[in-house]
Assembly symmetry: D2
Homo-oligomer: 383 residues x 4
């Protein structure tokens, strides 16, 4: 409703502004019995954090997560997991020129129009810094999915007009973290890197896109119509800051395919069950998962904060002025967006796994250990 | 949760299967005092209904809506509006071959995987017939938006590789209903029509896309992050059956723009207020409306039901078989999809208007008439 | 949000006014594979319907339910169950004096204050007639609970100052439907009946209360804090028209018990599991079910529509006037409230059974029959 | 869904266990422009905190709140308000005997039955310590209500069989904080205090109840049926730990009133508007506020943690054992429950104020100051 909650059964609630004291995130609905540590979460935070390479902002944030609740002896307890991440390197003075003069294509004007005010330091709540919370929550979702046999991965598949060729899931896993661009096709990654640096030197920025894929999702996830897997993925991915397009399967290209070309015939798999011959449908049919890999793509526009001078209109002085957005900014978003897209994919899938009862909403059944009180005969699970 | 509800304050709940007795829809959260009749709703239903032209299915459904509640003396009362639309021309026998042998790229397999069964006649709940409910609800939303000064319109902007040139909002309104394709560029419409008929004669079908635009939305609609206007539009549009891509503003093309190209500078409007020089941002900045026209695009794949023979796998007999989906089907979806996309746009916008208090959730203030009991001094609205 | 929805996973959405064309109800989230017929629902509707005895209103409504969707070959399909119940005996003219002069302690004034208007015939949306929808939905919930081994029952345990002694669950089942008052203690029922008739003859009405009990609920239902079983029962029961108090366990009497008196010690049951020695806690500890019977009580005030003359204030004419609420009304609410309380109890419990995964949200596992497509090896349920 | 969220537009999300590192709470949906400081919140936290008198637990928690986000220059910004309260005086060793042997009538057994584990230190998530979050959130709600002219107050109106006489709202405000019991009738407070100490010395505890009242709520708050003001208050109050009964207006006594006795006639107020002669309806008619004071009562059972020896059953050893719950505990709950009940009342009312548009969900209109960007002509609020 107010924009800081995601999920139906696996619920994420966030707080925090770019230059505020801390970012924070509460995950509720994670079943008891999942092994979880701060390190598990930190690994993904480190993939998103600023300052990790020459093509990211130089803001220095360690993004150390601190879990405040919901874990006992290394396992989740089923109650809310509160997490806090301190902001340590905020420098708001660079944003003062923009308090009453909105930066072009940022949320400055629109937040002020909505709230009559806004936290202006570093973009406040509208800053992509807030996705640190998503990645923290998404790391928990991934852990839970892994437990259920679902894996997922994303990589940068296009920067400007440089498109990577199709890669296998194995290539995705092997190569996407091996370069600063996070493109799983090493040769393309190099060309992308060069292009990004070119724009960066010009004081400009550039757009790109992210391909994502999930393997191991059982058939039957998603609900008819408004809560279809595609609709909820649509919401999830269109939440990602700077996203202007979401596609799955053949996506936007589907408009140029005939039915007979795009339709996937059925055959039997080795165990005698129907299975689609191809996967032009991106793992989703009628809004519900088919058991095939779920894949799609997200386009992120170029960062709006650029050193190049742009025109703004100061509503207090009534003057037009040319301003540079100095701060410390990314010249391109997809490389740091990869873990964010993965997080939103994980959060969406884990919710459907819980909603379909495929992951037990209260507790994982195979939780070992001393507090295993799985004892009551009138509990149907124990029969 | 279960897929048959849309909206937070303006809530739509639907029921019905393609070959069931009736379709139905309950709208709650429509404020009191809106003038509303069955005719207002029927006008949009007629744009969506089958059998309206040579390039739609020949199923004969009048789609007459019957309002059961929520209206008194021609005005809404603020309580739920129940609507029922009878199904009159269901012929299920054509679907019998597919009870245990899923039609390619339909929801047959996935619904069965989820529910262990499905209503197989005409595709049951997975059929696009169900969008009749959405259009009924959307017609109410449009009426409410019109009352608040917001207009919206969609048209078919591409079929196969035939793309319409950009059209103005005025052209959209003037031409989109003047041809069977619902393309606002008459000359392109003719070429599209010819192309569709070509595929239709081959026993095949073809994909396409729909452009939508809304005018008059005030700045400040949408909420930060997961409930941004773009995220909720994403969910809404990705719900539309056969949709594989959603974009707004520059959409997927944004990946090839630099920041300095895409960013929209600020100037002052005639009244001295900041206004963007251009609208590459599609009316949404930081997830919140800027006051500029909101526009975007939805891609719909080709109808999966085609007369051409396709292979399926019968899970009961264990046999592969070639089947034609005979029934009565559309050769292309966007022409009938136009009112559906408009409905989802309207439902999304009206919800944000209510959530921001710009439309009063309880009642329209200017409701005339004998039961106007706007009398109580302690009601702050009356002061 | 707007008051016509109940439930999180098992969702009920209603429409209809007392004197409108029809009442209606959509149940979504009922798993596939539940055997269900109109007769199953009708049985409970008949217990609630008007005109069933001398101590109910004489309005003549057959309350025949018509299921429009969601059932195939006698089993639920997992998709929304749409139900419609025609209104047949509305006589609105008796309500004309009250259009601008609110009936005492009714919702007339408050609905008008909220919406600036109201459907005045028969009380419109505020009428308890609307609970016909709840009972229809509740009948489905009961069927699902029975499938999971949970039974529930209510009866009238007090009218005016005539209180029934405690009865066993067996007595509840045996006697509560055997008399018009629906009190499971036959002798008390007679005294209650006489007292009700006494007030009825005086042109007055009287209050009372309903005791409810559920057996077979496993331990572990409910969630911490705001979604505790007690909190959600509180919402459910306080929704019942005319309810002014809700209690469970020792309820209001608990204020006069010490900890050592009220606390229930633990012992072992025959299978060696901890079980409480007594059940002063009403089956709920820390907001979560203990496995013991869940019981509580709901108080309903006297019907506000009485033939006795009462004073109202006409806001149009500015005159005070004495009016009788003529219509056709109940002299007491609990006898017809019994199936309503049962419905709300069932809806609350079934929701928690689904939320905890104890009932599979997609489908019942033991559904027999020809469309049983429980075949896919990658579906974890099938392993 | 998972129990740690309350509210529809004014949303509270909490985390934290009794003996965990910290408690925390995120409030989203608070409009921009509300003056707010940590001191405003601290005042209510101090009323709830342990160790405040001889009749509360001696656990030493300063309960200092730290606001992490959502405030700028002393005013809310409309974005989430993150708050953290450190736990400082947890001593878990006293709880070790109960890890596998549930304390009588606590949530120990039921949490373990649900989650298969539980955080056992100090009762973990089931501890009433968690209400520190509610009070923090409630303090913000109260501030917002005060801004809209709504005041509310609670006091202890019964302990054991000692009932306070009715008190006026003025007395409530004047006396309820003047004694340790928080009873607004000083003489009764003394008797209550003596009684509590008596039980305390016996190593026992006692129940009691809390009366609450809100003034200034406009008519028209609440929605029909399941979201009525009474239903949502029911949920809110039944969430309060140890609550076993909720009533409003005549409450449970209503069962012994006739319609003619309980019904409130209408007259005109000094300005010529209908107003009820009395307020037996507790400010709620048909589930919607009437404009009269909203009042009711909540019963809290005796604390279950008592020094007296009680029997428990150890599911690991299979032995029955007698245990004392040593820890540091309250001998009675209502004195510290008063701010908790006020918080839940405030959270419920503020939500309805937002839902009805009576408080603007985006921002308070009279917010002064330098960032007031209330400038855009197409924003209808500015016309």
């Amino acid at each position: 409703m107010n924009g800081n909650r995601f999920g139906r059964l696996f619920q994420v609630t966030t707080f925090g502004e770019s230059h505020g004291e801390a970012m924070g995130c509460t995950v509720s609905g994670c079943p008891a019995g999942l092994e979880l540590s701060e390190e598990d979460i930190q690994a993904d935070l480190d993939r998103r954090k600023p300052g990790q390479s020459m093509i990211t902002t130089s803001r220095g944030e360690p993004d150390d997560v601190s879990i405040k609740s919901g874990i006992q002896d290394g396992y989740t307890t089923g109650t809310p997991i509160g997490m806090v991440i301190q902001n340590k390197d905020a420098r708001s003075e660079k944003y003062e020129p923009f308090i009453t003069a909105p930066r072009p294509s940022h949320g400055d004007f629109t937040y002020s129009a909505k709230f009559g005010t806004r936290n202006w330091g570093g973009g406040g709540r509208s800053s992509a810094r807030e996705t640190v919370n998503w990645v923290a929550a998404g790391a928990i979702a991934k852990q839970l999915l892994a437990h259920a046999g679902i894996e997922l991965k994303a990589h940068v598949n296009q920067i400007d007009d440089i498109a990577a060729p199709e890669v296998s899931f194995e290539q995705l896993n092997e190569h996407s973290e091996a370069n600063d661009v996070r493109c799983a096709h090493p040769e393309t990654a190099e060309r992308m890197q060069a292009r990004i640096e070119e724009y960066q030197q010009e004081g400009d920025s550039i757009g790109g896109s992210i391909y994502f894929e999930a393997r191991g999702a059982p058939p039957g996830l998603g609900a008819p119509r408004f809560d279809s897997l595609s609709a909820r993925l649509g919401q999830a991915m269109m939440s990602v800051p700077a996203t202007t397009a979401f596609e799955f399967g053949l996506g936007r290209e589907a408009r140029e395919y005939t039915g007979s070309e795009r339709n996937d015939d059925w055959e039997f798999d080795s165990e005698g069950n129907p299975t689609p011959v191809e996967n032009d449908h991106g793992g989703i049919q009628g809004g519900i998962s088919s058991g095939e890999p779920i894949y799609g793509e997200v386009t992120l526009h170029a960062p709006t904060s650029i050193p190049k001078s742009q025109q703004t209109a100061d509503w207090e002085t009534g003057e037009l002025k040319d301003e540079q957005v100095i701060g410390r900014h990314d010249p391109v978003l997809p490389p740091r967006g990869v873990p964010v897209v993965e997080a939103m994919l994980a959060l969406t899938l884990v919710d459907f796994m819980l909603l379909s009862g495929r992951i037990n909403p209260d507790r994982l059944d195979d939780r070992p250990g001393e507090y295993d009180t799985d004892y009551h005969p009138s509990n149907p699970r124990n029969e």
